[in-house]
């Protein structure tokens, strides 16, 4: 134990140093977002001369009909439906794999695991053509419908997660319910689902974050500025044919990161445990 304590002192220093470096980009972003634009680069100072709240008001103001708030709202609407669809479908499918016998189960499970290895880029163009023919382009349907079919961002991973989790629920509960005359679906609904709160919260959280950051799909499927998500709206701030004021741009970045960071800080336990269980031997 002696060497362990010695470790801790020096290692605390290293870890803190690295930790500061890790966090610094975010820290810098927040400080710079409150700095007058012309001071952000060039000057050798760490703190702004004045706190420029106007960067935030400028970032939030409407430019040509739309503002960041519209994009945030759009993204929350998208998230609501995607997360709902994801939770419903992945819990159903996860339960199916965990508890329900059906033909070809082994093969299908192998396909499920195998699909984790599928590079999504191959499906990009065909999905674009498919959605184009269905006239779903420029709507949120390319995101929502797949999420209801457990095929949204991270869908396969979530099925797997739910499956693992449900397997850890004692079968006695199922047995007694079955004896009482419940159907499988009722077992799912009344017994398993309530007990699965933690894993479903984890699914919801990851789904939230990954959809929030899903830039490429949003870029291709959403064309109308009115429907832009925060990622697309943010990109527009550095893409307009107007002088870039870094102050408001960084303020916009801070605003865009706020939901993800808040969600993470409030629910870190779920994130960490969720990721960790993927490592547990399957």
């Amino acid at each position: 134990m002696d060497s362990a304590t010695r470790f801790n002192k020096y290692h605390h220093i290293y870890l803190t140093l690295i930790g500061v470096i890790m966090v610094y980009p975010i820290l810098w972003m927040v400080i710079a977002s409150l700095t007058p634009s012309h001071e952000i680069f060039l000057t050798g100072r760490f703190l702004p001369s004045t706190i420029q709240w106007s960067n935030y008001t400028e970032a939030l103001s409407a430019k040509a009909n739309y503002s960041l708030l519209d994009f945030l709202l759009n993204t929350f609407i998208l998230e609501f439906f995607v997360i709902s669809g994801t939770i419903i479908s992945t819990s159903l499918v996860g339960f199916g794999f965990a508890r329900v016998p059906f033909p070809f189960k082994k093969i299908l499970f192998t396909i499920l695991i195998g699909s984790l290895l599928l590079p999504q880029t191959i499906t990009l163009i065909p999905r674009y053509i498919l959605f184009s023919k269905l006239k779903w382009i420029n709507s949120y349907l390319p995101f929502v419908i797949p999420s209801f079919l457990a095929s949204g961002i991270g869908g396969t991973f979530f099925i797997f997660l739910v499956n693992q989790f449900i397997r850890s629920i004692p079968l006695e509960l199922d047995d007694s319910a079955m004896i009482d005359g419940c159907s499988r679906f009722q077992i799912y609904l009344k017994i398993i689902l309530p007990l699965s709160k933690t894993v479903l919260i984890t699914v919801a959280l990851f789904s939230f974050i990954w959809t929030w950051d899903d830039f490429q799909n949003q870029l291709i499927f959403i064309n109308d500025v009115a429907k832009f998500t925060i990622s697309l709206g943010l990109r527009m701030t550095i893409d307009t044919t107007e002088l870039m004021s870094w102050g408001p741009i960084l303020a916009a970045c801070s605003i865009a990161l706020l939901p993800s960071l808040s969600v993470f800080l409030m629910a870190q336990k779920y994130f960490v445990e969720g990721i960790a269980t993927t490592g547990i031997k399957r």
Binding site: A64, F81, S84, I137, N138, F148, L189, N223, T240, T241
Partner: protein, 437 residues
């Protein structure tokens, strides 16, 4: 009993699902099927905040005058505008009225049958009497008129008066030769600032320079014929970088957009750009206390008649798939001809093409706007009027631009000589055009 609950829940889920699906509509508008409702048309354009604000105000005025027409505005940035437009046209979904980059895309789109012949409305709804024929010609391709240009515009030399003052150099003159440009550049470089933004990697400027040299990028037989000119341009740029006139390529590559470049950041004294951008740059420079703008003709313009450096730009077109073409034409006519529109729009798209609009504005112009008017007048005097010769690109302008940019960057990084880079660029452009046709 229990079975019923399951079924009920299942039905609720299905209902939720269906309602969520229908909440999402597609890009197609559902409005205006009803005869009693006003007709709704979509109007898309690209630009900066100044242009957006002015256009929105003009559209509001239009809607006041024509209450039976509702305009859904779609202001956007330049990036991705035409990609999106092409997609929309191919799925039958384009806006009813849209702004268009005729210098870059007219040939492609017209030959692919993607545009609508607007001549039906000329004389009836759209009045073109006060538009100079040469300018109007810029809205057509191969004899068919597709759109009405909104502004007269062209490439000019913008300069920062403050940097010139501090260097003790004389302001650029319309009569400048390239030697004059280089001499002034060296003088400014000596003070520690850069003299100009590197123009060798941007299609807009490269194409104009090629025309100035008497060449063209792609000829009528779809052959890339600009090897000589492109080599000269890359060589010139290499020399300017060595002389400190241009910044090193490492710096240019991260500051090479219209909104983020050394000119607008006050680090470089000169930049080529459209005359109509001068007010925007001026505001940015003045706000940051970095200087103020002057406009001159591009160097070398007085030596030979510049091939084409002025054009009727950013025409407004009617969507081929539009279901309300008459209303679309009405909007176009208003924006181009109506003096109230002119008073609101001023020079956000260049100098108004309608002589009536120009006259009504002349007396109330700001200093910068007056500079834009003067510049365009001068450009018109020295440029050739025939758009058919002005074929910037074919087979996808953006992509020719990417090739020119990447090869130009390689020269800047010392990876290739100007001759090698130009040869490679020509080969790649030819290859790309061949594949696209």
């Amino acid at each position: 009993m229990k079975k019923n609950n399951s079924v009920r829940i299942g039905l609720i889920l299905i209902a939720l699902f269906i309602s969520s699906v229908s909440a999402f509509g597609t890009g197609v508008d559902e409005a205006a099927d009803d005869q009693s409702k006003p007709v709704q048309i979509r109007f898309a354009w690209w630009g900066s905040e100044g242009r957006h604000d002015a256009t929105l105000a003009a559209v509001d005025r239009f809607m006041e005058k024509y209450p039976s027409i509702v305009v859904k505005t779609e202001p956007q940035g330049w990036g991705g505008f035409h990609d999106k437009l092409a997609t929309q046209i191919s799925t039958g979904n384009e806006p009813d009225v849209f702004q268009f980059a005729n210098d870059k895309y007219m040939a492609d789109y017209a030959e692919a049958g993607m545009l609508y012949d607007i001549s039906d409305f000329i004389g009836s709804i759209i009045d073109t009497d006060s538009i100079d024929k040469g300018t109007l010609g810029w809205g057509s391709f191969n004899g068919t008129l597709y759109g009405i240009p909104t502004g007269m515009n062209g490439q000019t030399l913008l300069y920062n008066k403050k940097i010139f003052d501090e260097a003790g150099a004389a302001y650029p003159e319309d009569s400048w030769t390239w030697d004059d440009y280089e001499a002034a550049g060296i003088k400014i470089a000596a003070t520690g600032k850069y003299a100009a933004v590197d123009f060798s990697t941007q299609l807009d400027y490269v194409s104009v320079l090629i025309y100035q040299m008497g060449g063209v990028i792609v000829d009528n037989n779809l052959q890339v014929v600009c090897l000589k000119e492109l080599t000269k341009i890359y060589e010139m740029a290499e020399r300017f970088r060595a002389e400190g006139i241009f910044p090193p390529m490492e710096e240019t590559v991260v500051h090479n957009t219209q909104q983020d470049n050394y000119f607008v950041l006050g680090e470089a004294a000169m930049k080529f750009d459209w005359a109509a951008t001068a007010p925007m740059f001026n505001t940015s420079l003045v706000d940051g206390n970095l200087g103020s703008i002057g406009i001159a003709m591009m160097p070398g313009s007085s030596e030979k008649p510049a091939s084409v450096t002025s054009l009727g730009s950013m025409p407004l077109l009617i969507g081929r798939n539009s279901e309300h073409k008459e209303e679309a034409a009405t909007l176009i006519n208003f924006l181009i001809n109506d003096p109230e529109a002119a008073a609101i729009l001023k020079t956000v798209r260049g100098v108004p093409v309608s002589s009536k609009a120009r006259t009504s504005l002349r007396s109330n112009l700001s200093e910068v706007d007056a500079m834009v008017f003067d510049a365009v007048d001068k450009l018109s005097a020295i440029s050739l009027p025939a758009p058919a010769k002005y074929r910037v690109t074919r087979g996808g302008a953006a992509n020719l631009g990417t090739i020119i940019q990447t090869e130009g960057e390689k020269v800047g990084f010392g990876q290739k000589t100007p001759a090698e880079a130009a040869a490679d660029a020509v080969e790649q452009m030819q290859s790309m055009i061949d594949k696209a046709n």
